[in-house]
Symmetry: C2
Subunit: 321 residues, 2 copies
Amino acid sequence: MPFAEKALIEQLRRRARRGGHLVRLGIGDDCAILRIAPGCELLVTTDLTIEGTHFRREWIPAESVGHRCLARGLSDIAAMGGDPVAAFLSLGLPRKLPQAWVNRFMEGLLKLADRFGVTLAGGDVSESRDRVFADIMVVGSVPHNAAVSRAGARSGDKIYVTGALGGSSGALDELLSSRRRKLSPKEYPRFFNPVPRMEVGRFLRGKNLASSMIDLSDGLSTDLGHICEESKVGAKIQSGALPLAKIGRSRRKVDLRLALHGGEDYELLFTAPADKRVPVNIGRVPITEIGYITRRKRVVLLNEDDAASELKAAGWEHFRR
Amino acid sequence: MPFAEKALIEQLRRRARRGGHLVRLGIGDDCAILRIAPGCELLVTTDLTIEGTHFRREWIPAESVGHRCLARGLSDIAAMGGDPVAAFLSLGLPRKLPQAWVNRFMEGLLKLADRFGVTLAGGDVSESRDRVFADIMVVGSVPHNAAVSRAGARSGDKIYVTGALGGSSGALDELLSSRRRKLSPKEYPRFFNPVPRMEVGRFLRGKNLASSMIDLSDGLSTDLGHICEESKVGAKIQSGALPLAKIGRSRRKVDLRLALHGGEDYELLFTAPADKRVPVNIGRVPITEIGYITRRKRVVLLNEDDAASELKAAGWEHFRR
């Protein structure tokens, strides 16, 4: 096997916690065996991370790449109101990649896994030509028929987001505009080490508060579009209500356009019937009401003067580097 | 999204069979939701297929690449004695790749999925620089504590294989030696369209016949080594007993070295206690006894004169193109 592939598999194998009550058999057989609690359904999500498309090695430390890779999958589980159980990782690594980079990538990934009690239960490593890629699969569980889909929003429901918006794309914006070549991960936590809103998702599902939910990976305009499309509704958003992320040492607020269109915040966007009382904080995460669902199938942005314009799903894609 | 990525996702979405009793919600939400029968555990396996490492586009039709990609995962489920439930596919596609290639890849994959009642329940598509890669994840189920691992072989157990050995590497050998640039898929079925031994695995688990099992992906010498290592035993193999694959139009038998070391046959290798009666055929698949498990931790090959030599796990890697 090339480039210490075998060593990496051995490393994974040692670190994969065996014998947990949920994961019976981890790395080292043809399949991992998972046990899901009675009365629960299984959630499965896959996310592909490719160097050059989703990250640049010179911008993001290896630990952050590993962290973000798993965070994407965990955030999908959170958006259904589920509990994560196990993760599976397929890595493609260029031959010339330093072993230290791989070790730090794994450290970042496993630290986040530990934080949420997720077992790395399997995976695969292969040689890629010149770019790192990582495909993460996360398995979770949720009580029967309790998962919160994108399709449940109804006219009159209120729309909420967790945390703040645009923090991740705010950092990317600074990197792309070449104002700075290196950013401090501490000053841009949502870009370097986004923490999935696991507890919020679980709380909303457990209290039966959310009628629909999605995680903000592509940006508010795109992801709200997904909810509207799947629920066959429209939405009105108050631009003045959007919680703008504060970034950098000066904690300056990001531009509205980043809050509207910037991706990879991994906050939750959800709807709840108007008669349900949604807390202002869940855990320590602030919840902000930003608008409401309409019967008319358009997504409309209201500015501070209540002037309306259509909010189109806008190009986050060209940001992704 | 680049290169008709969105079109592909739409295509997947239409084709993913929704509403099956096992897969509640397929492509089009944050996660797929799977339901596993009560009293069952979950099996999960991931397999990464990379152009240049696992296949060459000029040698293998796109349909076969798709077929083989899923077959690898299904074979892992078979090797545990499980039933496949759903598959998840992450694709990296170069921008210049013809859409027709992608369509045919998907056709090959979905045809095999249909054959085994597997739902393609999710996935991800991204742009890769110049090589196709495909990461497949297969989820299966197996009754509680019934999965057949690699670790159960005991001294005195007999060793068996399904089908014939070396058929896949026999084809590759012809391609590499440049005797032929194109091979007929019909004359080399185990190379182009290996059918996972799903029924055999399920039968052996159901009748409680196999003490250990693995699928032959890396070659007999390597995979038998895995069983011996995990079971902390050794083995003796009769070279004269090995079922050699017949390939090509002339149905000539492959060389012994290919049967010993050639990979990607996706046959099953299993052990069973000596007092259990293992059928000569399971379904229509022939079962051949090839040796027995020993206490001494070496893998030994006995030739026709019963002369012994150590069978070392030998380099299949350099074959893989």
